[in-house]
Symmetry: D2
Subunit: 355 residues, 4 copies
Amino acid sequence: MSTYLVQPENSAIAQSAGLTENTVKFGVIGYGYWGPNVVRNLEQLEQADVLTICDVSPAARNRASKLYPQIDVKSDPADLISSSKIDAVAVVTPVWTHYELAKAALEHGKHIFVEKPFTSNVAQAEELIELATRKNLKIMVDHTFLFTGAVRKIKQLLEDDALGKLLYYDSTRVNLGLFQHDVNVVWDLAPHDLSIMNYLIQESPEAIVATGQTHLNRHEDIAFMTVYFPNKIIAHLNVNWLSPVKVRTTLIGGEKKMLVWNDLEADEKIKIYDKGVNVTSQEGVYNLLVNYRSGDMWAPKIEQVEALHRELSYFVDCIQNDETPINDGIAGLRVVRMLEAASESLRHRGALVRL
Amino acid sequence: MSTYLVQPENSAIAQSAGLTENTVKFGVIGYGYWGPNVVRNLEQLEQADVLTICDVSPAARNRASKLYPQIDVKSDPADLISSSKIDAVAVVTPVWTHYELAKAALEHGKHIFVEKPFTSNVAQAEELIELATRKNLKIMVDHTFLFTGAVRKIKQLLEDDALGKLLYYDSTRVNLGLFQHDVNVVWDLAPHDLSIMNYLIQESPEAIVATGQTHLNRHEDIAFMTVYFPNKIIAHLNVNWLSPVKVRTTLIGGEKKMLVWNDLEADEKIKIYDKGVNVTSQEGVYNLLVNYRSGDMWAPKIEQVEALHRELSYFVDCIQNDETPINDGIAGLRVVRMLEAASESLRHRGALVRL
Amino acid sequence: MSTYLVQPENSAIAQSAGLTENTVKFGVIGYGYWGPNVVRNLEQLEQADVLTICDVSPAARNRASKLYPQIDVKSDPADLISSSKIDAVAVVTPVWTHYELAKAALEHGKHIFVEKPFTSNVAQAEELIELATRKNLKIMVDHTFLFTGAVRKIKQLLEDDALGKLLYYDSTRVNLGLFQHDVNVVWDLAPHDLSIMNYLIQESPEAIVATGQTHLNRHEDIAFMTVYFPNKIIAHLNVNWLSPVKVRTTLIGGEKKMLVWNDLEADEKIKIYDKGVNVTSQEGVYNLLVNYRSGDMWAPKIEQVEALHRELSYFVDCIQNDETPINDGIAGLRVVRMLEAASESLRHRGALVRL
Amino acid sequence: MSTYLVQPENSAIAQSAGLTENTVKFGVIGYGYWGPNVVRNLEQLEQADVLTICDVSPAARNRASKLYPQIDVKSDPADLISSSKIDAVAVVTPVWTHYELAKAALEHGKHIFVEKPFTSNVAQAEELIELATRKNLKIMVDHTFLFTGAVRKIKQLLEDDALGKLLYYDSTRVNLGLFQHDVNVVWDLAPHDLSIMNYLIQESPEAIVATGQTHLNRHEDIAFMTVYFPNKIIAHLNVNWLSPVKVRTTLIGGEKKMLVWNDLEADEKIKIYDKGVNVTSQEGVYNLLVNYRSGDMWAPKIEQVEALHRELSYFVDCIQNDETPINDGIAGLRVVRMLEAASESLRHRGALVRL
């Protein structure tokens, strides 16, 4: 992980060292909303090559063919998965198809890059991880946000202990969103925050409480999750498909400093406040002396690299150098386990579900 | 209630109608942070007169004496409460003292104006209400926010059905706050939102789920509450003493329109969005047709009157005309019941507590 | 002009009416920063076809060839200009080359679409207009902003007299900008505002005062322009290449209402304030009675169409239907005349230059 | 001046050192909008005492008497000015009365504190300065902004050379303002910015260009001023009584860093950007190599002291210790000279007026 943070230019070095015969050959399944971005970024990498794109929609196949006349475009994923020329498969399809496609790809000896959330349930994720381990294949779950300049900067601040002991993580991700017909708002929006939170907070989450409401559909369109961590760290997620305004704000409170990450700001996405509370106990717990500190605010410069580009470059790196990604199957499983727990808590109107 | 909304100038009319011999004589207990505002506003009313101020702190009494040489300043509230010259007592002291002071005042035949939250528990509130009813005295609980231009405007919009059927109420009230030594963050900050919510939402809340964490103190300093209402209305409150930034934002979603109330904006506190979602069921529940609407935004002009002034004027009005305030003991009790339920839910890490 | 405002879908109607044999064949000169956008949008129009792209840079030609294998890519504009297959030429090159290229294109009977500012001086613009008129050819100057949803909405508001008599137009367009080596900040940034202003304000500007400073270069990098119009309308432009923050804000004051256009807002780009001043003269000019009005604010929904797409579609329309564009050569000349006047005023440290 | 910046607590030290018999006795002329603030702050100072307040309006005198029963309240300033008990006179009246009142006070041996702008013209200011110098009396012109935390912080940054060589100063001060019947918008709003600018920029201004327009009144209600300084420093002021929104923003550009001061922000009034442009000349002036730097942003903590309190405390200090204030008569004259020049330039539609 430290390599990931300290030397992002690693892959470039490796590439120039003459490994081009090692180019990773990709098949991409799914060319709807996100698939075109995956293909575009893979095509920009020197160490990667897309041989085949697959989609069930003729319109999608048509778009792919026009833009990439040199790439084979198919309707049936089976050909792609069984092709001996392909080293890695990107599964960029709805979540309920992930397990079957990913399993087939692993069985045919392909590394897999899977859209988030990883799978529809914990059992599927565990089986895929076991299979990949047995066959010594890589799984990367597309937790794209981990590769943004903002999250990398926050990770660095936490590793440098700039905030001090962590107190809370409070995220709001709301807007008038596209309704998903097959999942609720938690499965749609929370994977972003859960993957970021798991990456930033070293502790393992202990339990989840989730509340919410279904207004227009069979699935919850507004939900609130509390996640309990050890050492009194608490996290909270507010996800909502019915908000008139778009909000993407996370507050992270530490004993030494606190930060606000507003992902909608063009510049100054992260503001670090030299603010805090000191508590000195005096003459028993009933007489606490509370001091407030309020100092400067500081907005560090954030790198402006496309996160997906960096992520896919890192995936190719991990394959070529046989390294385990930070966003491997286990990271994906952790998110799925929390989504499952949240859904169970939702069904019981906020009952505590232990992880 | 409609009178309150439609004719705020009522009391002024009444006053000019020659009722000045009816001036309500006040005693004010507590001259710390909020008490001076109560005294100042009462002194500005033609129909009210402050005869006595009482505070245990010599420094507070000193400040009061200097500013109001004509007012009697005492240390013992007993004199004030038993004085035959006084019609009404304002209790502007810590919550744990409310019950005893209010009870004594009611027993001596005084109307009472009590700082929020009304009492420390439900039993106390019920007893005070019963006592006031028996003696035909008024109770007003200081839910000041109900008298702001912003809340009055939102109430009017809801009464005019401008938003359509209500879907959710989502409020955030956070900052690096003054720690309260005797209560948690819910009892400190949530009474504002609970009183507003109860006023705006016609339905009675059914159940509460509250989660939170205690970091620096014996009491929770961060908490999240979900309140379930009938008809799928859901409310959520985010209160936090440890935030680096001050946030005072409420989202209210309706089927026709949605609004954002940002109380920190100097102008444009309320923005109403002509946005929404239409769902048409087609061929069974599995094929929903979802349409988004996105139209103009509109920020109505908000009156700029001091809320406490309007509230106290209305209290005097209610006494003089024997009317029941919108923020009477029952409104105060409703908030206390929800605070009690939230505390119980907090103790059980988010267990559902029915109201 | 009313057609342009009222029926933007006109060209689509025309297209479906079976005019496809009339497709306008384009040659595009310049494939640097803006040229690719022109080509992409022309290629998306049913009634337009790009036959040839021309650029002196081999790298630019390479990019064009890869993306558009079906388009002829050349280095010498002469071929393109003299080609009998081409109906219209888009000149998307530095301003000092516009005159020569546009003149040659007109002489070869081509309609021309010219990047703003139109020409390097007034004489060139006048000559091109005269030439086009003589040969009955269309000139469109690329004042793209006129085709944004924001400017169209403001135009509509003014045509509906929503603001009342216009008082002032005050624009700020600053950021840490790309230095232009061949022109000053006025020639670089002000053409946007001048073209918008000329479009919105019905009156003809009378005189200009411009001040500024040269810090790092041979050319002014910061400048301030005042433009005097008849009927006491005053306009002001603040342009700056050395600002730490990006600002794109225009205030437009009318007697009835005032508006703020912030082009950096994702939503709510235009806010209309029901604010104003009423002056009633009483007993001679020395006793004016001034009343302030302050009412609601309103942010109309703005269309989200790509401006360049609408502009090029409109250009094709004007060619096919022999109509004069709102942004014709005369509109381009008007901007050039003001830029020339501003430069002269700058040289004399703010001397008034009549137009 | 360094004392002023480095040791603001100086006067407190002096006071506690037993100089209380030296208390400065004040007479305050004018108890309209600003006068009450002057009286309140003087009354809070240990080293100052207000003996007499004077106002021509019976209502104003009434308000003063009620709030300060211990202070003598008069209608005729002559008594106050000639009183042997008074050491210093605060002139808080309309500008056209300053000269006469201040002159009389100086002739009677009083130090004077004069509302800004100092006088109605340069000749008056020069005469008052000459008179005060001859009689060894202090003049302080009420340039309150110099004593805000924001301006003090910016001054410190400039003294520490944090911004590098100054390039420009660009200020906007607009809103739907109170019309002044006796002066134009420049005389009403620009004194703030001119006094700040003169304080922050070490150079002496060389010339002014001012443009503007009169819409509703006999006086300009919108105006734009450019001020030329030596060493290519340029300043610009945008003042407007007819803006729908309030703006109080100043951009200050330096070669090393740039700052934005937004006085309407509750926190983070000043943001310092590590942004800039480096120009390296290569092979003659035609080949400039321009590099952009873009780094962190930093918002220093700003002191939250009432500026007028600090200013009056400093005035008392200057009297007691015979020191010359930073905002003395000469500073006041400098502003008046620029206002006079601006008015002259306005009359000639932007003609350059040398200072």
